[in-house]
């Protein structure tokens, strides 16, 4: 069964009981993700990309099918255990950055460390280290709204890296950015992948997807093709 994959999906379904017949957001997905791989998930709007990513991110559980992460069967875990998985092994990057506006950059980056029970002084120095890594070491006491989109996304990446995750999940990370800043973000992600992070990224832009090693095309909740 175990072929060294960090993520295994086996006939995974996600059904939303909506309207008269409901929506099959995922209609049977079977796929393995190897550690250190870099995937782009592509497809039309409504094809199930985000649903897949949320599932991989343990924010949700499949309606049916098997999903294991690092060898653990997710369907057997309760809410606390899923939270713990996210806290220790996963990092999220969102299209709209999702920084908390009332908190400084440092506090945003420190948030995962706070939930991991770090002492304040430890997490502050780690936040500085991470901010320097994304090139924002001198802005730690700024508010997110004082930064450009590209800068905000770099802070979000720093936050996603704070718990030193095995897997980075990015839902259209460049969706709100111009071409140039998109390029910067993509080279940052490529660098992280080279350092060993497994990255799964949703995008509908071809040239963004080209940064990934594999491309997964979705259509109506199933895998259309892989390249």
């Amino acid at each position: 069964m175990n072929n060294g994959a960090i993520i295994q999906l086996e006939d995974v379904h996600k059904f939303y009981p909506m309207g008269r017949q409901g929506v099959h957001a995922l209609a049977g997905v079977t796929l393995d993700f190897q550690p250190g791989s870099f995937w782009a998930v592509m497809g039309a709007s409504g094809s199930g990309k985000s649903t897949l990513l949320n599932l991989l991110g343990c924010l949700d559980r499949p309606t049916s099918g098997r999903f294991s992460l690092g060898g653990k069967d997710i369907s057997l875990l309760d809410d606390d255990e899923l939270s713990e998985l996210r806290l220790r092994h996963l990092g999220f990057i969102f299209q709209s950055f999702n920084l908390i506006p009332q908190m400084s950059l440092s506090e945003n980056i420190e948030l995962p460390l706070y939930y991991q029970g770090y002492h304040a002084h430890e997490s502050v120095s780690r936040a500085l280290e991470l901010a320097e890594r994304v090139g924002l070491g001198d802005r730690l006491d700024h508010r997110p709204t004082e930064l450009s989109g590209g800068q905000q996304q770099r802070v979000a990446i720093a936050r996603a890296l704070a718990n030193d995750p095995d897997i980075l999940l990015a839902d259209e990370p460049t969706g709100n950015l111009d071409t140039e800043t998109s390029g910067q973000i993509m080279s940052l992600l490529t660098e992280l992948n080279q350092q060993g992070k497994t990255i799964i990224m949703v995008t509908h832009e071809r040239d963004i997807a080209n940064h990934a090693k594999h491309r997964l095309h979705m259509r109506d909740g199933i895998i259309d093709s892989i390249e």
């Binding site: 949320n54 996210r86 220790r88 999702n98 920084l99 948030l111 939930y115 936050r159």
Partner: protein, 420 residues
């Protein structure tokens, strides 16, 4: 653990500081509630402390009878003479001593105002003719010399015990025993000096600074059986035999029965209510009554305020949860457990209600002070009431914060993240 809680509280305060005015207004209900609770307890405590203090000074097995000029003075009496005759009689004392059960002893007091002088100095003193037992019942420290004793009574000795103030004014020193002072036209040797009543003991009716005590028998011999003196500010003359009778009862439990028996007996011999019966123990009961009334009134105010305040806080926290749905989604995605979200919002609510509690504590401490200043009512703030106030405000935070916090924690992370 403690460090973490402190950190959470700091974060909570920071969040609330983002909406200073809103937070402050939200706490008003708790402010009123807590201040009512503190005021309520302070008034109740003050009343019973005052009563207890009296009892401590006088004993709980004492009944005080005082002569009192009746309100509706008999029209006939007034026509026939300018003299009003009223008050307790020597016979009353005898009858009480002899016919009322459980009475251990009685102490008569006659009071008269007299000019007292020593050399050049003079002052008006209240002369109290009484028996040595008086000093047993009204326990006040002797500053110098000795008290009146049985021999003084038997010998009709011209001796007196001065209180501090009179001593200072007349003798110019506190401790001069053996001086002779003139009271009216008679000479008395000062044998002792007694501490004056500080006015808190509720014994104002029994004695006052500037009092002088002489043996009852001496008083009868020198100043006559009946006391005739000009009523204050009027031409009217008053004739009173005894101004006070202090009755000591066998035990505290019997005090009220005895007081009733005395009242019934006095009613037979006094067609008019020209006396007053005071039972310090009953004062305590009265204080309890005051306390109960205040508790009901202020307790209702407190209850309603706290309920309204709690609902207000809950309302604000629900709004806050809605406003911060996305933040909650982010925290959950990052790995926050449901109970950590609950903790975050609960701490915020508790900080909010505690802030109200703290302000309420300040105001609540001020209200009793105002009551004392304005109405002369005694109040007392116990440390216990402060602890209670803090407890109440924290509980309000927990009770009314729980629902919004649980609601925040139960949000679906994905939906929360998509929230605009």
């Amino acid at each position: 653990m403690v460090l973490k809680v402190i950190r959470n509280i700091r974060i909570g305060i920071k969040t609330l500081m983002l909406h200073k005015l809103r937070s402050l207004l939200t706490t008003l209900g708790v402010v009123f509630g807590v201040s009512s609770v503190i005021a309520m307890l302070a008034v109740g405590e003050g009343a019973s402390r005052e009563a207890l203090e009296r009892i401590r000074k006088l004993g709980s097995n004492i009944i005080i009878l005082s002569s009192e000029k009746p309100m509706e003075d008999d029209a006939a009496t007034r026509e026939t003479s300018l003299m009003s005759i009223y008050g307790l009689l020597y016979d009353d004392e005898l009858r009480i001593k002899e016919s009322i059960p459980y009475v251990i002893r009685t102490v008569p007091v006659r009071t008269m105002r007299k000019e007292a002088r020593l050399g050049q100095r003079s002052m008006e003193l209240r002369v109290m003719g009484t028996t040595p037992d008086w000093f047993d019942l009204v326990k006040r420290p002797l500053l110098a010399g000795r008290l009146l004793n049985i021999q003084d009574m038997e010998r009709l000795a011209p001796v007196c015990v001065l209180t501090e103030r009179g001593a200072r004014r007349l003798l110019a020193t506190q401790n001069t025993i053996g001086e002779y002072i003139r009271i009216g036209s008679d000479s008395f040797e000062v044998v002792g000096i007694l501490e004056g009543d500080d006015g808190t003991g509720g014994t104002q009716r029994l004695d006052r600074d500037g009092d002088v005590y002489i043996p009852m028998n001496t008083a009868l011999q020198r100043f006559g059986e009946r006391i005739l003196q000009r009523a204050t500010g009027a031409l009217e003359l008053e004739l009173v035999e005894l101004h006070q009778i202090i009755v000591e009862v066998e035990s505290t439990e019997k005090v009220e029965i005895v007081a009733e028996a005395i009242h019934a007996m006095l009613q037979r011999f006094h067609p008019r209510e020209d006396y007053r019966i005071e039972v310090p123990l009953a004062l305590l009961r009265q204080a309890e009554e005051t306390r109960r009334t205040f508790n009901i009134v202020l307790g209702s105010i407190a209850g309603i305020s706290l309920l309204v305040g709690g609902i207000g806080i809950m309302n604000i926290m629900l709004a806050s949860v809605t406003e911060r749905t996305r933040e909650i989604g982010i925290r959950r995605a990052i790995g926050a457990k449901q109970r950590q979200i609950i903790g975050q919002f609960l701490i915020e609510t508790v900080v909010l209600s505690s802030l109200g509690g703290l302000i309420g504590l300040g105001i609540g401490a001020l209200i009793p002070w105002i009551i004392t200043q304005a109405a002369g009512m005694p109040t007392y703030i116990t440390p216990y009431s402060l602890v209670l106030a803090v407890g109440i405000s924290v509980s309000i935070g927990v009770i009314f914060g729980l629902y919004p916090a649980v609601r925040a924690a139960r949000l679906d992370p994905i939906t929360a993240l998509r929230h605009e």
